[in-house]
Subunit: 339 residues, 2 copies
């Protein structure tokens, strides 16, 4: 995991766009968005109210798009991918609701979190409801293989969250241990989302494995860029406060690298601010300065490019197509994004 492979399309990466993917999946994503609204309904008003807050909060819906794009690339012409994509988005939404409770977050994508408006209790329970609805939809597709993949992911995600909680505030976390956390809490759902697109299309094992590998490595790259942006992005662009991770004492890769490369005085700084939670107004600025000194932010982005390259290679076994090009461009887009 330590080797950083240079990213060959690095120079073009800033021009990379998610638009080709958006165009290809648009018709099906309209149906997914429709299904999201229908399935978040309930005679208990609080459920759609709270669910819509999060659903309308401007997420890119990258995960369900992976399911749709993978199914389309595999030539699938049935209906099951709509329900599976909707399930994937509900699993993700449920995770966000529970995450915000666990992290005590007040802001997500620039909007107040559901837990701040409706309380932790409603966020926990509506998350549970959406998870139940996700499984109902999966069952409706009748695909036991998709159910196996997505229920596995559901367990792994929760396991990753607990692992992160157990390791919380430990500045001595190794890069390996950190990678294990994001592999579980972020990459597992990206992997499952892409893989089930191949499953409904009944493709051979090696293609399903390739889609899973693409999704997993894209997910890791995506998360690492997120980690970097939390210390380097502009608030209006990333839709959350810069320094949120710092203030919450979260150990992310830029911290892991800075801590390991720092001297004793610097390590004391990281321990005080992140382990003991003792922070003053200038600490964030100093944290960013230390990260720059050790190239921790730029090398976190290098690591992201490394996983992006693996995602790219994973798709090699598929013949060239508009879908393949769009999925490859999404890698560049994720790695180069500034928001």
């Amino acid at each position: 995991m330590g080797v950083v492979v240079p990213f060959d399309s690095k120079d073009n990466a800033s021009a990379a766009s998610i638009d080709p993917l958006l165009q290809l999946v648009k018709a099906d994503m309209d149906r997914v968005n429709q299904a999201i609204l229908v399935r978040a309904k309930s005679h208990v008003d609080l459920i759609p109210e709270l669910a819509h807050h999060l659903i309308n909060s401007g997420g890119k819906r990258l995960r369900p798009m992976l399911t749709i794009a993978a199914a389309q690339m595999c030539g699938y012409d049935g209906e099951a991918h709509i329900k599976l994509a909707t399930s994937v988005e509900f699993m993700h939404t449920a995770t966000l609701l529970h995450d915000d409770v666990v992290d005590e977050s007040d802001l997500r994508r620039g909007k107040k979190t559901a837990r701040l408006i409706w309380g932790n209790q409603a966020s926990v329970l509506v998350g549970d409801y959406l998870l139940g609805q996700a499984f109902k939809m999966m069952v409706e597709t009748g695909s036991l293989e998709a159910l196996r993949i997505l229920s596995d992911a559901s367990s792994v995600i929760a396991e990753g969250e607990v692992l992160q909680l157990a390791a919380a505030n430990n500045t001595a976390t190794t890069e390996d241990a950190y990678m294990q956390v994001i592999d579980a809490k972020t990459a597992a759902l990206f992997a499952a989302a892409a893989e089930v697109g191949g499953v409904v299309a009944d493709r051979p094992e090696e293609e399903k494995a390739a889609l899973a590998s693409y999704g997993r490595n894209l997910g890791i790259a995506f998360q690492l860029v997120d980690d970097a942006l939390d210390y380097s992005g502009k608030e209006a662009e990333i839709g959350k406060n810069v320094g949120d991770d710092f203030r919450e004492g979260k150990i992310t890769l830029p911290v892991v690298l800075s801590y390991r490369r720092g001297d004793d005085i610097e390590r004391k700084f990281w321990k005080r601010t992140l382990e003991e939670g003792d922070q003053t107004a200038d600490d964030l600025k100093y944290a960013v300065k230390l990260m720059e000194k050790h190239n921790a932010i730029s090398e976190t982005k290098d690591r992201a490019r490394h996983y992006g390259t693996i995602a790219r290679d994973a798709l090699d076994i598929f013949p060239d197509s508009a879908h393949k090009s769009a999925l490859l461009e999404v890698i560049d887009f994720c790695v180069a994004r500034v928001f």
Copy 2:
């Protein structure tokens, strides 16, 4: 729902025991208990630690026993009922973990709640993990019908919890509205637990419906007796503080009946103590006194007997057997229990 049918075996009810059921399901429940331990494992230590706390806390495991007993009564000789029963217990455990967070409870079955020991965050996430494991096991059985029934139950339970949250502290809740809450949050899992026993045995629709009806009405009776015991039980016997529901401002049937039958002064008392949460040391005692004045506790138990009778009638279509007798005796046991 207003008619109270006298319970014909009322006189024998106090002698009713869960032992005949325990004997019949013992061998299979040993395997369920084994599966519970294996499936709560994780390389993330916090998960089995927290899960075992709740798993070992002395619950009767009534829900998985219903699955096992129903499958056995239906002549099932396969393996799937073990996994389904384990799934049912995990769904229940996950609900308890999330419930204690939502209710801010400190004590369950006489022991400190997981949230008090490990925190709300771990309780939310380990609940999610157990739910994921539950779905994994269901998928392993390959029964889409059992998956449909249990994923439906999962959504309905969460919906019921949100409904309860939305109606929380509303003393003007009607009996109908209250019954809707417990039908969803308690009875749905009892119904699903019994029904899937018939599903794995591949029994005709009317038998599966009968098992679901038995479970549903048993679940309602069970919950109503719980409500009554919270105001009338002895702490050491019910394993929680007497008056927990009162202190949490929970609206249960004894309150619904007392509020509706009370005069203006009494209603002011209920509003102050339960809606406004303004309680003094003597309020619980006075609440019990009002309940006795309006026969609210004894009539809550009468209502429980009413649903017990429906559960009893539901099993009529099954031929006499040791399992049928044991399941019928469980009704009497639940209705007559003092803990």
